[in-house]
């Protein structure tokens, strides 16, 4: 039987995804002790875990080479694509925000603003909704640097605690959207392997619902 393949976003979401699976009773020893292996079996089940960068999780699930994925809503919003987004896992919470240098009124005046962001599609959609023409510049690394260096008037970025912004003299001008980790599923996989995938989703939903009651 072909295994059900789950793509997890490496890094921050990885640890939380793995502990979620462990609390559901899955043996994630292989993931904990992965070494250099890229495909990691979950002992005693027909599941396999793949670790990938966030954007690649979306690509793998969309193309059906992974059946299920755990990825941040930020990546989903930036990339779009066709798949089912079946659960909000609740962890990895942060928000998309427009941040500007402290003391600056972003909306004052009529000059065309320059916006630096790693999430150019999110930034574009946000300003399109406001009917604002802006120049968007893609920055790969620390986006906070762009207004300091004078490249941009503001940034659109992920904000968790706001500490990085504060250290760099920036403040949130507007929250664009709350984001968190999502469980995504390939469309054909859900249709073809319903008997295997649906119980897994239900198990996660039950766990999440239970967690909410405890809180």
């Amino acid at each position: 039987m072909k295994p059900i393949r789950i793509a997890l976003t490496k890094g921050r979401l990885e640890e939380k995804s793995v502990s979620l699976f462990e609390q559901l009773g899955y043996d994630c020893t292989a993931v904990r002790e992965k070494g250099r292996r890229l495909i990691l079996p979950v002992a005693g089940t027909n599941l396999e875990i793949v670790l990938a960068k966030a954007a690649d999780v979306v690509t793998y699930v969309e193309n059906g080479v992974c059946d299920i994925g755990v990825v941040g809503k930020d990546t989903i919003m930036e990339m779009g694509g066709t798949f089912y987004e079946v659960a909000d896992l609740g962890f990895g919470r942060c928000r998309f925000a427009l941040a500007v240098p402290r003391g600056v009124d972003f909306y004052e005046g009529y000059h065309t603003r320059c916006i630096a962001s790693k999430y150019v599609n999110v930034a574009r959609a946000f300003f399109e909704k406001k009917n604002m023409d802006v120049n968007i510049v893609k920055i790969e690394g620390s986006v906070e640097l762009a207004p300091i260096l004078g490249l941009s008037d503001a940034i659109v970025d992920i904000v968790e605690t706001g500490a990085t912004l504060k250290e760099n003299g920036l403040v949130v001008a507007e929250t664009i959207m709350e984001v968190s980790a999502r469980l995504i599923v390939n469309i054909a996989s859900l249709k073809l392997r319903k008997q295997e995938i649906e119980p897994f989703i239900t198990q996660i939903e039950r766990y999440l619902a239970g967690g909410k009651q405890d809180a």
């Binding site: 969309e62 798949f83 987004e85 079946v86 659960a87 469309i187 054909a188 249709k191 073809l192």
Partner: protein, 397 residues
């Protein structure tokens, strides 16, 4: 310097040899099946005026279409779909024909795809349209034909899912919400985004339509779906839609397709376009639908002729990816002659091909060069033609 003179555009590809055979085999089996059921072929141009797709803006946003202008500056598109041109054709040219009209087509469609995401921008489709009937019989014919095609190509590995968009339309229609809110709700159902859907419907409280909408992505599975769906909502045509779906489902059961058919009432893609029964086909091991279709009773009216219609299209290359790759096409014989016997060699090729063999003409002057070519090409036999014909094994030459 020419940078792009040795590569094909993003999302397109060259097909070579067995790739062409494999596509042609799948398309050929499908079109033979369509012909055997009384469908007739039509070919529409690969490019159309933009206006043809103008009314389908929701379905094909302008950024999804490749555009150009003709010699008079009129905006044209590479067709993103075959059904809309056929609707144009039906409204313009078929209204005088005895109805219903059964058509099939094969051709490329072009869609601007996301950059670097592995999706093609040129897709080869083969499909059918049944125009001029809104009866349940035509719905059943369409779904059964789709299933027969899926089974012919993929054997036991296919699934077909059915939905009736009327159920969703009944629910959303009775909800007091703005068009934007309704579209957001539809998207959440399409993506089975239970969490966001729940949040969107929260303000509607215990409203029965809202409760049913919240449950809609879960109305997915086998026969048990019907009972739940009937009990959730009945007004606004919901019951009639479910009746239609259930009848088709039951007929498919008696055709022994029961374990191949799924119901998904949350299949609400292109809800504006479809008006009745819709369906999609999947193959085990292919990460996207290989077939999609449904009833679109309003489309041809957009072109001025109120004709109901239903149809489906196969994504032929996705479907072909599951069928066994064809044998490499090796010639049976390489025919060689010296320069005195060129005409005899060609006559010999004619007689070999009449017998059903594949024979290649040697263009080499020397037998050893011909033998060397045959060995590298994998041809097992050389026929040496002079006054008589001698069969040689290239390996021993």
């Amino acid at each position: 310097m020419k940078r792009y003179d040795k590569v094909t555009p993003d999302g397109t590809r060259d097909l070579l040899f067995d790739e062409c055979v494999s596509r042609a085999q799948v398309a050929g089996r499908l079109t033979a099946m369509f012909r055997s059921r009384g469908y007739r072929e039509v070919i529409t141009p690969s490019m159309e005026f933009y206006d043809v797709f103008g009314s389908a803006a929701a379905h094909f946003p302008q950024e999804s279409m490749y555009k150009m202008t003709d010699s008079r500056g009129r905006l044209m598109v590479m067709r993103p779909d075959c059904t809309i041109p056929i609707a144009r054709l039906a409204a313009a040219r078929l209204t005088g024909m005895p109805m219903p009209v059964r058509l099939y087509y094969s051709g490329n469609v072009y869609r601007v795809s996301y950059d670097m995401r592995g999706k093609p921008s040129e897709l080869f489709q083969t499909g059918v349209e049944l125009i001029g009937s809104s009866s349940l019989r035509s719905d059943l014919e369409m779904v059964e034909l789709a299933a027969a095609g899926l089974s012919d190509i993929g054997g036991e590995r296919f699934r077909i899912e059915l939905c009736h968009i009327g159920y969703f339309k009944a629910l959303i229609g009775s909800l007091e919400a703005s068009a934007e809110e309704k579209e957001e709700i539809r998207q959440c159902i399409e993506q089975k985004n239970y969490a966001a859907l729940g949040d969107l419907l929260q303000p509607f409280g215990k409203n029965p339509a809202a409760t049913a909408l919240k449950y809609l992505p879960r109305l997915f599975g086998g026969e048990e779906v019907f009972e739940k769906a009937y009990s959730l909502f009945s007004g606004g045509g919901a019951t009639e839609s479910l009746d239609c779906l259930k009848t088709v489902y039951e007929h498919l059961q008696s055709l022994d397709l029961g374990d191949r058919v799924l119901i998904d009432l949350g299949l609400v893609n292109q809800a504006e376009y479809y008006t009745g029964l819709i369906f999609r086909g999947y193959f085990d091991g292919v990460g996207e639908p290989v077939l999609s279709g449904g009833r679109y009773d309003n489309l041809i009216s957009d072109f001025g002729a109120p004709l109901p219609a239903t149809g489906f299209a196969f994504n032929v290359d996705a479907a072909a990816s599951v069928s066994a790759s064809p044998e490499p096409d090796l010639p049976d014989v390489l025919v060689f002659s010296d320069s005195q016997h060129l005409a005899q060699a060609i006559s010999h090729i004619r007689s070999l091909t009449r017998e059903g063999l594949t024979a290649e003409n040697s263009v080499f002057d020397q037998l050893d060069t011909a033998a060397d070519y045959a060995r590298r090409r994998g041809i097992r036999r050389i026929h040496l033609v002079d006054d008589q014909i001698q069969e040689l094994d290239p390996e021993t030459l």
